[in-house]
């Protein structure tokens, strides 16, 4: 009996050392089996500990960065899927009625274009999407100055470093990325790009915060592959707002500051520095930013 208790105590001590990894699901199979065995023996202390750790871990996703929102058609897909499911699994008339009462699908981004872009402080961030480098450009406006009489805030840009994944991106070349904001419901914006394989941009506008988030994917993250220039069209012509590039060490760099009154900006363009055909922004003639 004493011997058995000792064995259990040893097992307890060993298991207790593993509980953090266990809660994370990060143990090797043999280790996990040992903890399982210990828990099955009814160790309440360890069970309590695991439970607490698991609950704590549930909070971690809350800290995830809110990347550009999923595409608008995702909700349509989801609602279609569940209503298809309802028909398949339930043939009652009540269900059919509910199908008829299918709720209208709000387009979450509807209306973002009805707001003006106000004077601005600019912050730049970088996110990586699907192995490609992406830039999230955030222009924060002043909501209380709708006429934007050059009330823009001159502020240093904040650069948030983020991961640059190199998976399969070497063959991607995006020569030119233009962002156009033309329609009130135009929320999923495509790059105008000659060589892009998978480039696209998304735009999110929060009218209440006057916050404008632009995420472009498909830029070439290969170190030393050259820089991208973010231009804005102003009444005085194109102005270089920032220069984005990946240096030889793989670090993402954003250069530039602005004291522009971005309320005056009609068009924003990203070009590749080395592309002779897009050495200056052409967006102004091709695309308009209605406001």
């Amino acid at each position: 009996m004493t011997e058995s208790e000792t064995r259990e105590e040893i097992l307890h001590d060993q298991a207790a050392e593993l509980l953090e990894g266990y809660a994370l699901g990060a143990l090797e199979p043999a280790e996990a089996a040992m903890v399982d065995e210990h828990l099955e023996e009814g160790c309440e202390d360890c069970e309590q500990e695991v439970s607490g750790l698991v609950h704590m871990l549930q909070a971690l996703p809350l800290a995830s960065r809110l990347v550009a929102p999923p595409s608008d058609d995702l909700k349509v897909r989801v609602l279609d899927a569940i209503q298809l499911d309802a028909t398949e699994t339930n043939t009652s008339s009540a269900t059919m009625t509910r199908r008829d009462e299918r709720v209208p699908i709000p387009i979450s981004s509807r209306g973002w274009m009805t707001q003006r872009v106000q004077g601005v402080a600019a912050a730049f961030g970088i996110i990586a999407i699907g192995g490609l480098l992406a830039w999230a450009i955030v222009l924060q406006g002043q909501v209380n100055d709708l006429e934007g009489e050059n009330s823009a805030l001159a502020s240093a840009m904040q650069v948030r470093p983020a991961a640059v994944s190199d998976g399969g991106a070497t063959n991607v070349s995006v020569a030119n990325a233009l962002f156009t904001l033309t329609g009130e419901q135009s929320s999923s914006l495509q790059f105008i790009s000659s060589q892009s394989v998978d480039a696209r941009a998304r735009l999110m506008w929060d009218p209440d915060e006057a916050l404008f988030v632009l995420a472009a994917t498909g830029l070439d993250p290969t170190p030393g592959s050259g820089a991208y220039i973010v231009w804005v069209e102003t009444p005085d012509g194109p102005v270089q707002l920032a220069r984005l590039y990946v240096d030889q060490s793989g670090a993402s760099i954003v250069d530039g500051t602005t004291d522009l009154a971005l309320a005056q900006v009609d068009v924003m363009t990203i070009t590749h520095e080395d592309d002779p055909t897009t050495s200056t922004p052409t967006g102004a003639t091709l695309l308009t930013f209605s406001r």
Partner: protein, 218 residues
């Protein structure tokens, strides 16, 4: 009926009655966080959208999988999302993580200053979550970077401790220590933050074999 003011738990009850309007509201409320969580794991917008769809469809089909007594709905939902996304990673076959993802720039990028996200947070309309999100971020910020990286690689990338040791070229014992210390610090930092951690309910009798993450949808 307008569900927008309803609690998560009430919405889930209504969803159990196949109320599409309640589902619609719950989708709007959290889809961006669900997407962000899946994206965090997969680093791929298309794959993350598939996970969002999967999570919500399962939620519609099996709302009973959420048990209110076990904790907050959002914690459960994001945990299910994370698990589903990890499954997806594994089904794809684990790809090596690039050095750039592991270097001095941590893979999370997400924990630091995040004004744009907070501004967008009203999209899911739960003001309470802004504080909770900031509390979690603050707790993570306070961790030594090595500890945080180890925990996040395990939780968000589904790596085992041994795999983390390998990709970081660090002794396994060191990784284990970082995870233990980091998890303890996190727990201390997050305990008492109202609504984030609610271990009040009796724990499950035992964790699922090998993968103890709560809310695993199976």
């Amino acid at each position: 009926m307008n569900w927008t003011e309803s609690s998560d738990a009430d919405l889930m009850s209504a969803i159990a009655e196949q109320e599409v309007g309640a589902f619609d509201t719950l989708y709007d409320r959290y889809h961006r966080l669900v997407f962000a969580t899946a994206y965090r794991v997969l680093n791929d917008a298309g794959g993350a959208e598939d996970v969002v769809q999967d999570v919500y469809v399962r939620l519609w089909q099996r709302p009973d999988r959420y048990v209110e007594e076990r904790g907050k709905f959002i914690g459960w939902l994001l945990s299910v999302t994370r698990n589903r996304a990890i499954d997806e990673i594994r089904s794809r076959g684990r790809r090596p993580i690039s050095e750039s993802q592991l270097g001095s720039r941590d893979d999370t990028g997400s924990i630091t200053d995040e004004r744009p996200s907070e501004a967008a947070s009203k999209e899911f309309a739960i003001a309470e979550l802004v504080d909770q999100r900031e509390a979690v971020r603050a707790a993570l910020r306070e961790l030594p970077p090595d500890q945080r990286a180890a925990i996040e690689l395990a939780y968000f990338k589904g790596l085992t401790q041994a795999e983390i040791a390998e990709v970081l070229a660090t002794p396994l014992g060191t990784i284990k220590t970082r995870i233990r210390l980091g998890m303890r610090k996190l727990r201390v930092a997050l305990e008492g933050k109202v609504g984030i951690i609610e271990p009040s309910a009796p724990p499950r009798r035992r964790a699922d074999r090998g993968t103890a993450e709560a809310g695993r949808s199976g």
